[in-house]
Every structure is written in structure tokens, then in C-alpha cells.
Subunit: 189 residues, 2 copies
Amino acid sequence: MKDQLHNYLNRYVIFSEEEMNILFKLFEYRTFPKKEHLLVQDELCKYQFFITEGLVRSYYIDEKGDERITQFAIENWWVTNLDSYKNLSPSALFIQAIEKTTVLRISKENLELAFESIPKLERAFRIITENMLVAIQKRYEFYQKKSSKERYQQMIAALPDFSQRVPQYMIASYLEISPEYLSSLRKDI
Amino acid sequence: MKDQLHNYLNRYVIFSEEEMNILFKLFEYRTFPKKEHLLVQDELCKYQFFITEGLVRSYYIDEKGDERITQFAIENWWVTNLDSYKNLSPSALFIQAIEKTTVLRISKENLELAFESIPKLERAFRIITENMLVAIQKRYEFYQKKSSKERYQQMIAALPDFSQRVPQYMIASYLEISPEYLSSLRKDI
DNA sequence: GATTTTCATTAAGATATCTTAAGAAATACG
DNA sequence: CGTATTTCTTAAGATATCTTAATGAAAATC
């Protein structure tokens, strides 16, 4: 568990065992069974979650009462509602385990402590945040360029295991397609 | 010019005069007349641009040959193609001055030097990047939730000066609306 | 293993938005 | 100024995608 986090962070900046020991103490280990929420709407998002195992989604409920998935996250990804976390605003999003999920979570206070005691952690988080920004920009460029059908085809080609682990209507929601229309697209393929 | 950058960065982390002197030397000052490009497609984006005056857009050309605007940036904002900049990949985007624009630009090499000599700059950039991430997430949530008409109404309500400084067809492009349809929406309002 | 719940499919009708093409208005330019 | 370029509008027809509603299949639960 500690090694997993260590290996992950070492991709960006090398941390010593000792630094990792300090850092690791600031995290809490949690398990969420399938369907349990890591965060619910209107609550404050107090943590950043590093997923060590499992699969979660973040989503909101739109005006019509439908769920709209904004993100999936798996092993070795971070998930949080950054707006709520940073600005202490009530979360517009839910974060929910799709499978049994284990996480290391860190509170804002503890992450601030970590930044103070291990300054180069700032660098790691700066780079990770930049990568997330690039990823989200690419994603929306892709959505803008491609039709529903192409989005679906490329998603299952790029992430074939996802189609196994996630129900189809959730993939539809993530791709911004109605489940009925996705179903009819699949018939054509 | 130096003060403008200093004031801006002090929002995030306090820098001394001396630190600012070191940092400022690593930037270059540039002026771009209206319509000139800061970056063109297929080039490498070698800089991050801090806009000190003026207004730019970043956009790409889609399959049909139409321009699609992904971002506007004004005074005290950063603009770059982060994907190209970080990954040394040819830029899919253009960045162009809509008005006469002055910038402070910094190369990747110099920014790395700056991070090394002024480590707390990492913190400032980490926070700035987080803010950008929140902004882009909110933007796309808004696009997903709102109709074309609502997007336009809220944009001109939120940024009334923009409607003056930017031609309508560019606003349409940014809002992901065809210019003809935006024109017809305006008639209704 | 039967029952309930969740998930996927089908089909018909509705609609938001785009496309094309043309002309009008505004702005820039020699 | 007058011409050229850029920007905006109008209107008709096309289409991708959604909605609703019903049925069927699969999976979960007791």
C-alpha cells in the first residue's frame, strides 16, 4: 500500500523512504463496498482520494433527475471534487464506488502539512495537476470533434476492459449519449 | 511590467523583490499586433505566455476547415498549449492575438531554472494549475447543462465587455454554436 | 429457484441544432 | 470617399440525437 503510493509518486519526483514514512502517516486507508459513496452532493469534499484498488465514478444529477457521469477513476488515479475541496463549497458531485474500492485519502489540512514538511511534493502535485489538465482538454477536444458513434467506438477500443467493468448505460452517460441511442448505435456496428 | 507579474504571483505565494528579479530575467517581453500568431499549428509550443495587455484566442481547424475556439485569454491570464509544451508534441492549436497584445513569455528551460532557484514557485504554479482545472471542469459542466441560448445569455451577462471586444462569430465558436444559429437565437432575445 | 431489481433493446415521434446559400450591414483600407 | 473585406442575418431543408414507452434479458436477492 505504501509501496504503491511510493512507486506512483516516484514517477514524478523521487522520494526517500523516510519522506514516504512521513507522508504516508498523513493518509487514511479506507474501503468502500460496491455502490457506497465516497462523497455525496451538498457535502464538503474534505479529501483527495488515491485509489489503490477498484473503480469509482463521479457524477451529478441533472435537472431531469438523470445521472451524468463526469469521470471514472481506477487504480493509481486520484479522484476528488477539486472545486469543493479547494473552495470549501458544497459539492455538486457524487463520488461512488462501482466496484469494491480501497483508497488512501488525505485531508486538505494533512496535505498542507505534507507540502510544508516535504516541499518537493509541491512539484509532484504540480505535475500531476498539469497532466490532469492536459487529459481533460484532450477529452473535450475529442468530444467536440467526434460523433456519438465515434466516441463510443474509440472508447471501447482504447479501454476494452472498461466495457466489462462498467454497465453500458454508465458508459453512455460518460460519453454524453442517451442509453437508448447508444443501444441503437451498437446495433449498427 | 515586473510589478504586474509580481502582483499576480503574490496572490498565490509571496515573493521578495530579489526573487522577482531573478525570475523576471527569465522572461522575454513580446508584442503581437492584431491577428498575429503567438503559436501556429504543427509547431512546438515552447513557451508559457503571461498576458500583460490585450486579448488572444486559441483555436484549431476542424475537418470541415472551420475554426473552433477553445479559449480566450486576457490580461493577467496564462495561455499556452500545455500538451505541446509538456510533451514536445506538435501543436494542434493556434494562438492568435485578437487585439494588439503584449506578453511576458517564458521557455520551458527557463521555467525549470526558475523552479530550481525559487522552489516556492512550484507552489504558485501548482495552485494556478489547480484553478485552471477547476475552471475548465466548471465550463464543461455548464456546457453540458445548458442549451445554446442559455450559454450565450449567461456569457454576455457574465462578460459584457467580451461581446464588445470579440466578434460574434468567435463567441459562437467558443460556445460551440454555429454563427447562423446564434444569430437566430439573438433575434428571439 | 422464484421473485425483484437492474439493465438493454426497439421503435416512433419530437426537437435542437447544423448546413447551405444568399444578401445585408458594418468595418477596414487604399 | 468608394471599394473590398469581414461580419451578421435570414430562411428552408436536413439530421443527429433525445424522449417516451414498452418489452425483454440478465443479474441480484431472498
